[in-house]
Symmetry: C2
Subunit: 241 residues, 2 copies
DNA sequence: CGCGATATTGATATAGATCAACTAATGTGG
DNA sequence: CCACATTAGTTGATCTATATCAATATCGCG
């Protein structure tokens, strides 16, 4: 996994070798971050954006009562906070789920890309648009689905994204989220997530355990979660292969 | 209200006269749409994007059970589906709330802007980024706040946005949403919205009736909804004036 | 004025939260 | 590599916010 995996598996996003090289050259440095580390917080003035190379990050907001809401879950190849380039400030926190490697790209170098490489610039824009599409789907998921549907939808979405970057196959993938984390992603308590995970297993839909997911019946799971993969703009249909 | 109001009231978004003219020239035609009309649906291939001139639109998704989830609420000056320019397809429905006037900008003319006007192009990008920030806040609202908090947050957000485009002052603004619509925006039933609206009134926080909102106690309402206006990137503080 | 859409209110049901105890994993230092 | 500590997962009992169902009232428009 390297910067060439930016937008990997996404439709309409072919990077030329030159562009991959330009992105590569824009990287100031690569850092490793330990699991659970907070990378930045709401209100911070950022001067670089973060391309996730390996491991998993998330974005979240804290509520007054101490609970938090995950806003997104990031897989390698995701530009995690590219939106801070236009806005300069960040309106949520970013943290590591697992240990991770990130490539830091200074905003000043993005300025140069904007001027010199309109096509690459348009792909950067495109990637923030995909991000927004994810957010919309999360609004739908949390606002309209029940607990079973929410988990089902989340598991389907994450499988599609993992598969697109080569980290999932045959319905299986690594998912180092605790049941607490899953609850924060879906607007549920960890206790209830536990019961839902059990029902998914009992009904032969999916097994979620020890940091791994095995989807047993993709068709029924997707139906339960009212999941349509179109919003991910994948190169290949989500379920084949 | 005209295309010059694009990004009105938003920080870091000064349009030069030339740019306003370029945007104006990119408009192919202006249309009026009746209340409740559906403008486009998930999966449609779009060839133009829509700048809202007057009235109110929303984006939404339908669930299997017939309920729908609002994804965003649009005030004049908003580019409602600019994200369909990079993606070509749209991953949700767009509909009118009230009667509205929209300016249609063909994607082909956006191509020209991308090449000839990098600064204006970056503002288009910026506006889609603001959109995503709204979505994130909606995820938080629906995922972590209770019914009172959700309504409170929605009313605060909408007030700030309306005021930024000159359609709200002194805590008052027009909001032609039914209680059913409010429920679809906040993940609640219309019956429960009704009870929450009453409690907001009884507790001296806000009056929501007959298509208008009067915020009675902005400080307490914002606290109840855990509302921080930073994510709107407004020129002026949300509450003054 | 009258009719359909919206809003209001009450009674009841339920999904999911909360609280509390226990078990199973995972990790750490000796 | 074991003993212990810590974290994560599991299960049951109970509670509560919000949904659901149903009936009436009010609004806004033709």
């Amino acid at each position: 996994m390297h910067t060439k995996d930016f937008l990997r598996g996404r439709r309409r996003s072919e990077l030329s070798e030159e562009e991959v090289a330009a992105l590569e050259a824009a990287v100031e440095r690569v850092e490793t971050v330990p699991a659970r580390k907070v990378l930045c917080q709401r209100g911070d003035r950022l001067h670089h954006s973060t391309l996730l190379v390996s491991g998993f990050l998330c974005r979240y907001m804290d509520a007054r009562d101490g609970y938090r809401q995950l806003l997104s879950y990031h897989v390698p190849g995701d530009f995690v906070d590219l939106h801070s380039y236009p806005t300069r400030y960040i309106d949520h926190d970013v943290g590591a789920i697992s240990g991770a490697t990130v490539a830091l790209i200074p905003h000043s170098r993005l300025d140069a890309i904007m001027i010199e490489r309109p096509h690459l610039a348009s792909l950067l824009w495109f990637s923030t648009i995909l991000d927004a599409a994810l957010h919309r789907e999360w609004v739908f998921r949390i606002g309209r689905l029940d607990a079973m549907g929410r988990l089902a939808h989340f598991l389907c979405e994450t499988y599609c994204r993992m598969k697109a970057v080569g980290l999932g196959q045959d319905g299986e993938y690594e998912l180092p989220l605790t049941q607490q984390d899953l609850g924060e992603a879906t607007g549920l308590t960890s206790v209830h997530v536990n019961r839902v995970v059990r029902r998914l297993r009992e009904e032969g839909l999916a097994i979620v355990a020890r940091g791994r997911v095995q989807i047993l019946d993709v068709t029924r799971l997707a139906r339960l979660g009212e999941f349509e993969a179109d919003y991910l703009y994948l190169d290949h249909g989500p379920w084949q292969g």
